[in-house]
Symmetry: D3
Amino acid sequence: MNGQILVVNPNCLQAVTDSMSEALEGFRCEGGPEIRCETLKSGPPGIETQAHVDAAAVKLAEWLGEKPERKRVDALVVACFSDPGVAALREALKAPVLGIGEASYLTAAALTERFGVIAILERSIPRHRRAQRALGLEHKVAGELALELAVSELQDEATTWKRLVGVGTELRKNHGAGALILGCAGMARYRTRLEDKLGVPVIDPTQSAVAMALGLVLAKSDALVLEARH
Amino acid sequence: MNGQILVVNPNCLQAVTDSMSEALEGFRCEGGPEIRCETLKSGPPGIETQAHVDAAAVKLAEWLGEKPERKRVDALVVACFSDPGVAALREALKAPVLGIGEASYLTAAALTERFGVIAILERSIPRHRRAQRALGLEHKVAGELALELAVSELQDEATTWKRLVGVGTELRKNHGAGALILGCAGMARYRTRLEDKLGVPVIDPTQSAVAMALGLVLAKSDALVLEARH
Amino acid sequence: MNGQILVVNPNCLQAVTDSMSEALEGFRCEGGPEIRCETLKSGPPGIETQAHVDAAAVKLAEWLGEKPERKRVDALVVACFSDPGVAALREALKAPVLGIGEASYLTAAALTERFGVIAILERSIPRHRRAQRALGLEHKVAGELALELAVSELQDEATTWKRLVGVGTELRKNHGAGALILGCAGMARYRTRLEDKLGVPVIDPTQSAVAMALGLVLAKSDALVLEARH
Amino acid sequence: MNGQILVVNPNCLQAVTDSMSEALEGFRCEGGPEIRCETLKSGPPGIETQAHVDAAAVKLAEWLGEKPERKRVDALVVACFSDPGVAALREALKAPVLGIGEASYLTAAALTERFGVIAILERSIPRHRRAQRALGLEHKVAGELALELAVSELQDEATTWKRLVGVGTELRKNHGAGALILGCAGMARYRTRLEDKLGVPVIDPTQSAVAMALGLVLAKSDALVLEARH
Amino acid sequence: MNGQILVVNPNCLQAVTDSMSEALEGFRCEGGPEIRCETLKSGPPGIETQAHVDAAAVKLAEWLGEKPERKRVDALVVACFSDPGVAALREALKAPVLGIGEASYLTAAALTERFGVIAILERSIPRHRRAQRALGLEHKVAGELALELAVSELQDEATTWKRLVGVGTELRKNHGAGALILGCAGMARYRTRLEDKLGVPVIDPTQSAVAMALGLVLAKSDALVLEARH
Amino acid sequence: MNGQILVVNPNCLQAVTDSMSEALEGFRCEGGPEIRCETLKSGPPGIETQAHVDAAAVKLAEWLGEKPERKRVDALVVACFSDPGVAALREALKAPVLGIGEASYLTAAALTERFGVIAILERSIPRHRRAQRALGLEHKVAGELALELAVSELQDEATTWKRLVGVGTELRKNHGAGALILGCAGMARYRTRLEDKLGVPVIDPTQSAVAMALGLVLAKSDALVLEARH
């Protein structure tokens, strides 16, 4: 047993969790920690307002307490770009708790001077701005633009792809973004294609948080090796 | 072949590179990218002044150009806490270039409200402060304190350990640090012990940068899987 | 009928609401808006952790929806220093929503260069710091110190008074605070005494939010007068 | 007698003071403090340049000293958006001194993430920006735009109204302002109409400062009640 | 005629102006601009409060208008550390207007990471902090400490010197100041001695503003040379 | 002998050094310090990338060590807008070391609320932004625009002049710049003409650094005078 990273999808849609888990396939390596994705069944179907964020936070706290093994994980990743419940979970858990919103901003800041953010909805942008400011990374945000697509349009890959390219190009060319963040947990499947198309790094937030979690867990196992030798 | 992460130690001491490579053992996983550590043979024996940082930057640029395969890596990690040459290498390389100083600050910011930094030398603190401010993370630094040990003392593990515990305790208790960064590439072997002793996460900067690099490389391979399925 | 200000106490203790209402007696003026205080009966008994804050936020959202007249108020004041639910309530209500934490920081900033904050518990200080930074008023905080009294001690007025004077004096003399904020909804009864004792303005957060709300409601009624005349 | 709030109009135009006093009618409540408006007869006819601000500051200091009862007020409000003399008056007076510029920024920050400012003249904007930055609220200013009307045009209500609607719409729609500040002491009569027209809170600066002053005075009287009961 | 720099001492003491002029002796060079020092005879005897600053600002505006040649200077230096009237004079004069407070902060920032400020009086420190923040140089202030000497003590050179050394040593050693600013127009005569004693640059504010003014004037004359040649 | 200011041009072009020296003619005054300009013969022919900056930094450190008299100067000015090697030279030299980039930003901040920067190349702007932020003067930058001229075009004075006027006008009118900085060491000859054309101060960075250096050296000589008299 090499540790466990638990990724919780705070909306109740199993399909989103499945696609998230697929996007993390590459992070599951022989001898590395188990990466398990769970759906917060009591969560809202989507997290689009501050009320959804608050509701998800409370449900996550309950969920954590429901099964003792959830508190025994080596790292917990909350897979919603608005980072619901992350502050409270940190008070309840000894292990590291990572929010994918925060992780993506911090990863982008490690790659470039200024990055862009692609939001799904215009109305989420003020909420994201609060998070960017709280971290101290406001000055690194080249711009944030919304796809502003209806749910039905989002389900159409061709339409979504066209908007992603449009908005990403605008952020890269006119705002000077040196990297782009997909501002939502469910767009990993466009990551590589968009990166190839636009020629700048594109960050999937769930992947960036799991990468950090993986590092923290692997560092631990490695330490044992070092201890043994020295 | 699953990609390659190249970690370059910008000081010329092979022993430091070897110990670094050992500390990264846990990050080498079956099916994951190769993690290769190289010594910058033309580098200074230690990087303690701004002149050393500048010199290492130039030597790193030359080193990068010497062998074409170095430019073909999937991620480059510069393993010195002062991040020499990182800005210039980013201009020269398409692949992501990570500095371990920056990566450690950003990783600490993903874990806690305020973190502490343990420097080797007092005189490096203003240089570190410049980097913290450049990132925008000044407000998250609970404090930075130096071990202020002579080279001979640093070679004595018992003395170093005692100082690490002293300085770390001061940062945690009196400065309110919720995590600690080892402000130097060569102290990974104390990481777990210090974490266990002090009860807060302790971050080794090389590990935090390699974790980010690993994430970026694994994300890529994963994307192929996704592409295939969709 | 001249409008209504609804003050909701997000903890479930009616005694706290009663004392709050008493402290607002002076704000109820002939011809002015009704100031009504309600207890969030489903709220936690005290709000001391981020989990309590999140829980209160959700309960407040439910509470708002329970009775249609709650949405018809002219201003809503959330009377907990951690401002639970304020962001979400703003999305749900057309009328202004004021958090007493924010209102107290903003009122203090209107009075002095640098103010001090008296917290009940040490562990709330990082949470408060997040709020101060979010507003942009970090640079105006001379310091924040906790009473750090047990619940039983808090119920003893003599002990509480002694600590208030001690901590307040420290903030005024050693930190240079030109005004003090009582960092909790339930300490209004010490306000005048402390102001007289220490010689600097002492701000009760609930009063400062209700003052702002009163201003917004009175401005409206006044506008009618103006409209009529012009 | 329940205390007194003295509002001083630092320009010498009695008509401006009268209209100010009218706009405060709603704030005068039975049993509440007297709200008295005075004209600074020695003041400049308008405050449009930094020289006017400096001149008004000096005249205000003289004015304060002229009659001893002026120093006995419970709160003093300086009713010019550039807050002339506020820093000096705070040194001379024990009672709170509120500047209407500061009070309006702080009140807007209590209502919304980002607010807009409607200036009369373009050339005042840099002066306002200094004040916004001094408070730490720069990041909350969605934008500031000037009416840029000549004095004769300002006297024409229809023209002024049209410009107010144009500039306000621009700030709300294109700059994302969630509230608007009327950046001048003499525009209260447009407040309600503009609020109704644009659907976001519109703040009259004099009203916002008087609301804060009212709160501070009412809190005091209330404290007596509390003292008596406990 | 090679241009003229006019230095105005905004307090009414001719002795202060004389000593200022002496301290500028080295800046008067053959072929360079005339450096003329004038006393603001209508100014207050000392500038210790915000009211003094405001009064001096108004008197300076009047003074400027009194003689047309004052508006024909090539640069104007206001020689009081609180920079009275500088913002207004900039609106009235085409030529550059330099405040010695601002100039000293900016010069110190060109020399070192963090500087210390030696104030005369404790109560001026909040006023200075406003200026440091307005410039954006707060983060470069290692600390500010006051001599806190009575006027009679200030006239005693031995006592003043002893306090300067004490306060300067504290700023250098315990606050990490890499340069020191004499926070008052009248202490130039201690500059070299203090620099020699403490081993860090010591900045006299009047000299730093005149140096900038000199540069602006000399640049102009030089341009003629260049024009001629090219 | 009255001291010496050494200005080093870190690119290897003697013609640039010569034109620099000419632009400093006005700063050489009878009885004042010698102002000597040297070419860094080992430097790159131009400094356009971060790699050039790093290379110049190392060459400057070597250059400083080559001749003992270089360390005996009274002030050293590094005449490249990217300030290569300045941090390291400060560690190696007791005398003040001034970077012309920093000096120009600080001088502009002494003259106006918001200034504009004219870059040669678009790709240098992120590098400049890092420096502006490091100083804390980001909020004073009204905008930065690039001439974006090819080397051959830069050699054509008419073309360069036209672009300078175009870009300068844009910064002044649309960005509200109250002063302009020539963001390159080699454009002094356009300074006066541009200032006259645009009606705002135009700052040549080398001149602004030499002005500061001159001030520091003259202050010293002056001190001797004062010492003698007192």
